[in-house]
């Protein structure tokens, strides 16, 4: 089993219509429901907000990674959406987002462990800014999956950039 096995075109939408965080979350949750990943849209969205309360899910670079850790999840996956307009979202770089990766995971941590491992691997891919830049440019779901699953990405300069300067006083040695 590989990364492609948790990516599903049915739950990827490169033309989300929502203009607010709430609309976008409902839209993506709707896709998850139609594709048989969750039992109930409202219950799932409610559980996403529980996680949102705990900390920031806007990663910077216009990407958000809300997590739906919910008992209404029946199949592990990740809904991916891109919006035409930027959406207000609490983020590490203070910028709005337009690319949303909604993690759809069970609240039972032993459920579908092999899928959870693939999700972890996929999350790691989002730590590379060069890859994220490519994701912003893709035009089809197929090429989005291609960029997400590729081993290496060519970086024009560096593959990571800082949103702010590191505070030297945090190192005591």
């Amino acid at each position: 089993m590989g990364l492609r096995d948790i990516l599903n075109e049915e739950i990827i939408d490169l033309s989300l219509k929502g203009t607010t965080k709430d609309e976008v979350l409902h839209e993506l949750a709707g896709h998850l429901h139609s594709a048989g990943y969750i039992a109930d849209v409202e219950e799932f969205v409610k559980d996403i907000y529980v996680r949102e309360e705990e900390g920031i899910t806007g990663m910077g670079n216009h990407i958000a990674i809300p997590h739906g850790k919910s008992s209404s999840v029946t199949r592990i996956g990740i809904a991916i959406g891109r919006t035409e307009n930027e959406i207000e979202w609490e983020s590490y770089d203070g910028q709005p987002v337009n690319l949303i990766f909604l993690f759809c995971v069970s609240d039972d941590s032993d459920f579908a462990r092999n899928h959870m491992m693939l999700l972890a691997e996929l999350a790691g891919k989002l730590g590379n800014d060069a890859r994220v830049e490519m994701l912003q440019k893709v035009e089809t779901k197929e090429s989005l999956i291609e960029v997400l699953t590729s081993e290496e990405v060519e970086a024009a300069e560096n593959s990571v950039a800082d949103a702010e300067e590191f505070d030297e006083s945090l190192i005591s040695f």
């Binding site: 996680r51 705990e54 900390g55 920031i56 990663m59 910077g60 990674i65 997590h67 850790k69 590490y92 770089d93 990766f101 993690f103 995971v105 941590s109 462990r113 959870m116 491992m117 999700l119 972890a120 691997e121 999350a123 790691g124 891919k125 989002l126 730590g127 590379n128 970086a155 560096n158 593959s159 990571v160 950039a161 800082d162 949103a163 702010e164 300067e165 590191f166 505070d167 030297e168 945090l170 190192i171 040695f173």
Partner: protein, 106 residues
Amino acid sequence: MSLKIVGITACTAGIAHTYIVAEKIATAAQEAGHQCKMETQGTIGRQNELTAQDIAECDVVIVAHDIKVGGMERFAGKPVVDIPISTAMKSPKSLIATIEKKLNKK
């Protein structure tokens, strides 16, 4: 000077931040010419677990976490950078650059 860096990441939910930050630190370190191995402690447990040899050979340890991490005793005697997940998320490059500077001064 090429450094050997090891570290651990652990976020509250253990689903996404842990893995993204591990990748950011490793990428920033490698692009600055260092070796780096990051252990992740998430909902699926420890992955890419550091070996006794990894730790014995390392010059510095980076622990980026929002929850308690397991196995800190493994790093006794090593310089440890202990920071929140958010700091590593926002400043991976200057984190590495600062470590280089501080280790050079020692």
